[in-house]
């Protein structure tokens, strides 16, 4: 369980990538990083998710920890992970749509929704399974809300 924090400094460290002119390696790197970021998010969702499904026993401490991780992740400055010129029109390794840059305001709003629902989950996670489930509904809506407009279909 402790292990999940190790990836965080790595991600934070790579934030120094500047969003200036990008070469192919920079593009690939930022794509890799944001996908890892999403995986880290998904990993923490999985901890509470498995409790919501009854696959693992509900434990208010562990649930709160995972939800706090999510709240933390959602508040990270994300912009450096999404440099202009790294959409699916620029690389085959990404499903990021051009709209992330052409509608930066909308994308930022989706991120805010995510941060709000992650914080909401953090507030609810240790207050019983039903509250946890309610918080997950909202969180899930915020992920889907962004994926729908800003990520290409499979």
């Amino acid at each position: 369980m402790k292990k999940r924090f190790n990836a965080l400094p790595v991600i934070l460290a790579t934030f120094t990538i500047s969003a200036g002119s990008l070469n192919a390696a920079d593009v690939d790197k930022s794509i890799e990083i944001r996908q890892s970021y999403m995986q880290l998010v998904a990993f923490n969702v999985g901890i509470v998710g498995s409790m919501a499904k009854g696959k693992s026993k509900y434990d208010s401490n562990i649930a709160a920890e995972a939800a706090n991780n999510l709240a933390l992740l959602s508040k990270m400055n994300y912009q450096a992970m999404w440099p202009e010129g790294s959409s699916q029109e620029d690389s085959d390794h990404t499903r990021a749509k051009m709209e992330i840059w052409t509608d930066a305001e909308g994308f930022a709003q989706k991120h805010t929704n995510f941060a709000n629902s992650a914080q909401n989950l953090a507030n609810l996670a240790d207050k019983g399974l039903n509250n946890l489930r309610a918080g997950m509904k909202e969180l899930g809506g915020s992920c889907g809300g962004c994926h729908q407009g800003y990520r290409t279909k499979k």
Binding site: G54, R133, G140, G141
Partner: protein
């Protein structure tokens, strides 16, 4: 006149008469039939949610009306036949359906027939709604009547000939409109049967997840086995218990997906399914579990 011409003319006339009869739009449900049913508005809201009416009929969201359900229509659906535009179904008396009787509404939902006795296009998924109980339809109407009435003229569809002729839909409906259950399930399990009702009826899951033939009829032999998306921009996944479907998903995985949109890998649903999940997330837990139970109970394809 030569006999050939006579025979030819007779054939044409018979053909036209047959076409006219076959394409006539009856409205079989009477006011008397529905007046015997008492409407339950609260339950109507649940029917509204599983029916996904909002996904197609809600007007563009705006900040000032963020928390109201506004069924003024306007959403455009690009298809191979042209562009359909969702009509206003808010209870406005002039431009919506505020003047409709409950029987008018039931004939639209279950038979695809308008109050003016015209056929509706199956872009309105009445091919599934046909399986709804009359009671659910009555409850649904009562709930829609409580929503804000919005004055906004419905737009004309932008279709190409011959799809502009509603009468032609009569033939199509003879072939593809059917209120029988899609799958024969030999189980007394009430949850599975409830799931069957929700999926095959109001939930209209098959309208996206099942393939269609060239003229848009659902291919029931490949029920829920995936299809190309209606706007041709990708594929809708196979959700049958098939190797290329969701045989790996547990009952809990499916129920969770319909609640929060999280997949078993904790990615989240995308595409049009996000709208569906906005609706299914509002259902009682038992209904999401019923849908999961039905999907798990489907006979695996040969």
């Amino acid at each position: 006149m030569s006999t050939w011409v006579n025979i030819g003319a007779a054939a044409v006339i018979t053909g036209i008469t047959a076409f006219w009869i076959l394409t006539d739009a009856d409205a079989p449900i009477s006011n008397q039939q529905v007046s015997q049913l008492e409407a339950n508005i609260e339950h109507g809201e649940q029917v509204f949610n599983i029916g996904g009416c909002v996904s197609c009929h809600a007007s563009k969201p705006s900040k000032e009306h963020a928390n109201t359900i506004r069924l003024a229509g306007g959403k455009r659906f690009k298809t191979e036949f042209g562009v359909f535009i969702a009509p206003n179904i808010s209870p406005d008396k002039e431009t919506g359906i505020g003047n409709w009787t409950t029987a008018d509404f039931a004939n639209a939902m279950k038979h695809g027939v308008s109050p003016d006795n015209e056929h509706y296009y199956p872009a309105f998924p009445y091919t599934s709604y046909a399986r709804m109980t009359l009671q659910d339809v009555v409850d649904l109407k009562a709930y829609i009547d409580t929503l804000p009435a919005i004055t906004q003229q419905s737009a004309q569809h932008q279709l190409s000939f011959p799809f502009t002729i509603r009468r032609g839909l009569g033939l199509w409906k003879q072939l593809y409109l059917d209120d029988k259950a899609v799958i024969t399930l030999n189980t007394p399990d009430p949850s599975v049967l409830r799931g069957q009702y929700l999926v095959e009826g109001p939930g209209h899951c098959g309208e996206c997840h099942s393939p269609r033939n060239q003229i848009g009829g659902l291919d029931y032999t490949n029920w829920l086995m995936g299809a190309k998306s209606p706007d041709n921009s990708g594929r809708v996944p196979n959700i049958s218990p098939h190797d290329s479907g969701i045989s790996e998903w547990s009952h809990e995985d499916i129920a969770e997906y319909l609640s929060s949109g999280f997949t078993p890998e904790y990615d989240s649903a995308g595409g049009d399914m996000t709208k569906v999940i906005e609706n299914t997330s509002k259902l009682p837990t038992s209904d999401r579990e019923a849908i999961a139970a039905y999907l798990k109970a489907l006979p695996p394809p040969q």
